[in-house]
Amino acid sequence: MPVMNVIQAVNDALRLEMRRDPSVVVLGEDVGRFGGVFRATAGLQQEFGEGRVIDTPLAEGGIIGAAVGMALYGLRPVPEIQFADFIYPAFDQIVNEVAKYRYRSGGQYPCPITIRTPYGGGIKGGHYHSQSPEALFIQVPGLKVVCPATPRDAKGLLTAAIRDPDPVLFLEPKRVYRAAKGEVPEGELVLPLGQAAVTRPGGQVTLIAWGAMWHEADQAAREAEAEGIDCEVLDLRSLQPLDLEAIVASVRKTGRAVVVHEAPLTCGFGAELSALIQERCFLSLEAPVARVTGWDTPFPYTLENEYLPRAPRILKALRETVAY
């Protein structure tokens, strides 16, 4: 099996889907000739032409709005937003249009779009190149939100997202775009949306993460093991739909949960997960659900390591939860 990084896996998925299905088109800023500022679409325009890999003018509202029209008219657009931080000019199109089209047309107009965007910090990007906006979109009914952590998942989940009949926001962990390498099956790979992965079985505490933070959680779990803490790690992979069964099964087994995310604490997805665990696992809980998150501040530049929920902070939460 070839070894790939996340960028190569994304590229591979796009290429295979474009070969398989002529209705798949890619559009966005710099995606064509240049192959994207992160090179995720490199070589696609050469293979599929300017008609299917489109460099658009600089307007996110235009990119998503046009993708809506394309989707209504039978294509499967995969627009790229260059950084998740620049998705806000398209917020109205995504929240009110993309996500609601099927519903408000009484099911007459599905809107199958996969919006790809790199998200997250740890690349010295300051707040305009580091945000993790997943919670803002998970709350929007009609939208699916997917966030892979590994190259294999990136390929399999992106393929599933493109084929999905609903619109998907596909958040790519740019901090590990090149750093995360792993074996990825050649040829078609489809991983179902809405299934979490138990990436590390354990019995004492459930550690829940996704995207770039899964790598941090995994690191913390390994350090915790050295201290005798037996940690089960769950990579959610898909945030909406959410694999609640996997979460419930794990927390009922361990009796404890720690949630990690990069976005600020207040109203982050960790708040929803804590509430769900509390509703479903109350009688199994041995400790309050802990959240290790970014702070309630904009994402900083110099102090980004202090901002990010790094392994030492996760480890501290694990120790406290286990000792509660």
Partner: protein, 406 residues
């Protein structure tokens, strides 16, 4: 309250009947039409010759002073790009080739005029007194940074010089500049904002909204488009189908003018006229400064992936620095030796600023993370600062960038 708007009639004169009759044909558009309607205004040619002595609106010392700034900016950009390659700073956006546009516009404004920058115009902040060392502290994001190490390099703010905070999201500053002009008029101030953006920015929603508001209200704003040919990898032709950026002004109902952006004097004169009109109540102007980005978009970019080096060559002949140097040479203000001495002196000045900046502590205090989010920190922010402080004391690895990647 009296209406502070100018009393000149706002409604256009009624169209003559004959022209209002529809003859069934759409308005003609032919290639080249707008290039003719918006000729490129230039004053100094590539050899440093003046088209018209009367257009020399800057006295020799002022011209030399601006040339000095342009050279400083060039040397700074070159130095900072090297620094980024050495890994001493994370990122840099330069304006190599675009110096005449940046300095020509900014120099033509009044000191009280606010500047709404894009992200390549730190030169304008230098004109307004931003110390070089403070700017460099911003590149390091260290304790001497005016924005407390919060922003990426080249996202400075300089309130003492009325230079507002640089935002990454493209074109957000356009309607904001319009609002500032509005506020100035409401308050009866003589203040004309100078708003910078690139050719790519003219596709963004905020560009259209901003120009429309400004034109409807006849607000005093100077919109300065640095048409440098590229928005990262996307060439101007793929950004807009209009032949010129200046002609877009027509659609909004304002003045547009095309200027040779590599000609300091042309940019200066055009901006001065635009400012004068704005101050006289004649509304906004869209200036298209036609220039060229000779380097990559930023240090994160490799232009070889989208443009052959050969297309840059002709622009090197049109270098804005060369032109002013030749003009100054012709006027006997600066000879070869004088230019070399000037460059030496500026290099020393840059080095001194760099040493001063590098001497600052590498990080602002941790508590600064929670300052300025609100006027006073909220309860959870105070708790989070306490939590972070304790966590850092317990495990200093937390502040170490690579602990978990290595």
């Amino acid at each position: 309250m009296s209406d502070p708007r100018p009393t000149s009639p706002r409604a256009p004169p009624a169209e003559p009947q004959a022209r209002r009759r529809h003859d069934g044909t759409a308005r003609e558009w032919a290639p080249g039409r707008f290039l003719a309607e918006f000729p490129l205004y230039a004053v100094v040619d590539e050899e440093g010759r003046l088209a018209d002595e009367a257009e020399l609106t800057l006295a020799d010392p002022a011209l030399l002073a601006l040339y000095r700034w342009m050279v400083l900016e060039r040397l700074l950009d070159e130095r900072m790009i090297t620094l980024q390659r050495q890994g001493r700073i994370g990122f840099y956006v330069g304006s190599i080739g675009e110096e005449a546009t940046v300095f020509g516009t900014a120099a033509a404004m009044a000191p009280q005029d606010w500047i709404f920058p894009s992200y390549r115009e730190h030169g304008a902040a230098f004109l307004r007194g931003l110390p070089l060392a403070t700017f460099m502290c911003g590149l390091f994001g260290n304790a001497g940074d005016a924005v407390k190490g919060r922003q990426m390099p080249c996202h400075e703010s300089w309130a003492p010089g009325h230079f507002v905070s640089i935002s990454s999201p493209i074109a957000t500053q356009v309607p904001q500049a319009v609002g500032a002009a509005w506020a100035a008029r409401i308050q009866g101030h003589d203040m004309v904002p100078l708003c910078f953006f690139g050719d790519g920015s003219t596709s963004a929603n905020d560009f259209h909204t901003g120009l429309n508001f400004a034109a409807v209200q006849r607000l005093p704003v100077v919109f300065a488009c640095r048409n440098n040919g590229w928005a990262i990898s996307v060439p101007r032709e793929a950004q807009t189908a209009s032949e010129t950026i200046a002609q877009k002004a027509i659609g909004y109902g304002m003045r547009g003018e095309r200027v040779d952006g590599n000609d300091l004097l042309a940019v200066y004169n055009a901006t001065r006229r635009a400012r004068a009109r704005a101050a006289a109540g004649e509304g906004p102007t869209l200036l298209e400064c036609v220039t060229y980005r000779m380097e990559g978009h930023s240090t994160s970019d490799d232009p070889r992936a989208y443009r052959p080096a050969s297309v840059v060559e002709p622009w090197k002949q049109r270098d804005p620095l060369l032109r002013i140097r030749r003009l100054l040479g012709r006027r006997g203000v600066l000879d070869e030796a004088g230019d070399l001495a000037l460059r030496d002196e500026l290099r020393r000045q840059l080095l001194a600023a760099l040493l001063e900046a590098e001497a600052q502590p590498a990080k602002p205090p941790v508590a600064s993370l929670f300052e300025d989010v609100y006027a006073a920190p909220l309860r959870q922010q105070r708790e989070q600062l306490a939590e972070l402080t304790a966590a850092l004391a317990a495990d200093p690895r937390l502040a170490n960038p690579r602990h978990s990647e290595g």
